[in-house]
Subunit: 294 residues, 2 copies
DNA sequence: ACATTCTTAAAGCGAATGTTTTTGATATAA
DNA sequence: TTATATCAAAAACATTCGCTTTAAGAATGT
């Protein structure tokens, strides 16, 4: 199969649009002769007349018109990919803050998608507590943050609302014990709400693990030594949601909010926001995980 | 703006798909060295790593994946336009027979569309009487014919049904005269039907012009010396449909039929058939003309 | 250790692609 | 009509590009 040449196609389009070889040559920073020869070679390659040269002005033949459509598309594709791959606008770094309890399972997928779309932009993931993330965002240390809150501050955007739910070891019975044994992170934002709920239901409780380490919590819970609470749909693989049938209080809804979407900063930024919206605003996080597991 | 090279992109795609420079070089009928150099130049042009060369096998980087999408599209566009413009399948001649009374206004538009889509296919237009066209088609002298008939033969396709209508000079009064003065072509298929209708309505009539020339008929009618009948929607610019309010008999419906569509001969043939279908099967020929006049 | 595969490099050669200059054709004005 | 300006094509020439061949070296998996 013969190959066209983008340079030549660009000249061809310029000639068709400017209606003259000399004029086009001016735009292209080439001599009239060079453009003329390009056109000649193009016609030879295709074995066709592309121009009607009767008359002083140069007009396209039907074949020329047809080529023009393709030439425009090919030049546009060329320019688009060159821009995407080399333009400074498409390289840089974005800092994304995400509470660690909602990193899984959505964020890895988002990062993957984003990297495929903007391979030259580095996403610095800052996984921490909602409280700290909001502080970082306020300082400008994070470009975009997600939060898990019961309310929402000004400038935020609610992506979805999910109930907090009880999680424990698969098939475990720790949730039947009284006092209820809890495992909590030291900074956990959910803690006061959970405690409130338990007190209101007159359920005695006891914090048996208090740590900074999520690993420790997960290990304790999966050993059925305590229960924990998480946003529905973010349970890690070896922990299950507890079907307590009303034995434990229902916990309040939390919303997953996004800060930093305002003001259409640039295409790259907006794309990341778009991926995040789609990942969380989707029907159901559990359903999403099912899809991801396929 | 830098320009990519289709040859190089083709190699790039081949390497990405075959997973190796040597293998790709084989497909491309180039030496391994040449392909390697092409890739190197491509990476230099973009200032990017496109391949992850750690490991024996050659893998794409994220940038490479992104380029691959565009490269495929550009190569596909290249091949498509080359095929369209140079493939023998897209050149040749089609003979189209059309009764001269329905040439206007649809056929010129169809021919224009078709020429834009297949500039290297010549359409030989044979404008004649339905009877002769059917004979030509039966002999194989026409590839496709349109006819105006009250019925339809086997192998035909009815495009639309239109009433025959009375036409005369704009604002003319020839249609009030008795005997009614008629202008007819010598071969006109409508004639027997018209005569039947008039006889049935007890309207005396008289053929004042009998000729082979459409021009003569049009001239006579536009001078208000006689009336004529045509398929609705095919009136030429200087003749008008007569609003006789029942003073003249209604004339039978005629269908516009197409022969030669059967059996999916080839893409070019089918495209012409498609244009014809769209031109005549459209809601109303009068409406079409209004669109064309814009 | 061996085979495979990719990278890099150098030399040679032909084709491609540009520039400058010239020629020819066509429209516009005198 | 003749003169003139404009534009496209052609001719002559120089340069660069890109492929082949050949060969050496590095990385990797068997």
């Amino acid at each position: 199969m013969r190959n066209l040449d983008i340079t030549t196609l660009r000249s061809f389009v310029a000639v068709a649009e400017s209606g003259g070889v000399t004029r086009a040559a001016g735009f292209l920073h080439l001599t009239q002769s060079a453009v003329s020869m390009q056109l000649k070679r193009l016609e030879e390659l295709l074995g066709l007349d592309l121009f009607d040269r009767s008359g002083r002005t140069i007009a396209l033949t039907a074949s020329g018109e047809q080529l023009l459509v393709f030439a425009r598309r090919m030049v546009a594709l060329n320019d688009e990919v060159i821009t995407r791959l080399t333009d400074q606008a498409y390289e840089g770094e974005i800092t994304l803050g995400v509470p660690h309890d909602i990193v899984y399972p959505a964020i890895p997928r988002v990062l993957k998608q984003f990297h495929a779309a903007f391979p030259r932009v580095k996403v610095q993931l800052d996984s921490s507590y909602t409280r700290r993330l909001k502080a970082e965002f306020a300082k400008g240390a994070c470009d975009i943050i997600l939060t898990t809150e019961t309310g929402m501050d000004a400038g935020g955007e609610q992506l979805c609302t999910k109930p907090l739910c009880w999680v424990g070891a698969p098939g475990g019975s720790a949730w039947r014990q009284r006092p209820l044994k809890l495992a909590f992170g030291r900074q956990c934002t959910f803690r006061p709400r959970v405690v409130e709920g338990l007190d209101a239901a007159d359920i005695p409780w006891d914090v048996v693990v208090e740590t900074e380490s999520d690993r420790t919590i997960e290990a304790t819970v999966s050993a059925d030594l305590a229960v924990h609470t998480m946003i529905e749909g973010t349970e890690p693989p070896h922990l299950d949601r507890i079907e307590h049938g009303g034995a434990l209080p229902d916990l309040p809804m939390h919303s997953i909010n996004l800060y930093g979407a305002g003001g259409a900063v640039n295409e790259v930024h907006d794309a990341l926001v778009g991926f995040l919206r789609r990942a969380f605003a989707a029907p159901d996080a559990t359903a999403l995980r099912a899809v991801a597991n396929r």
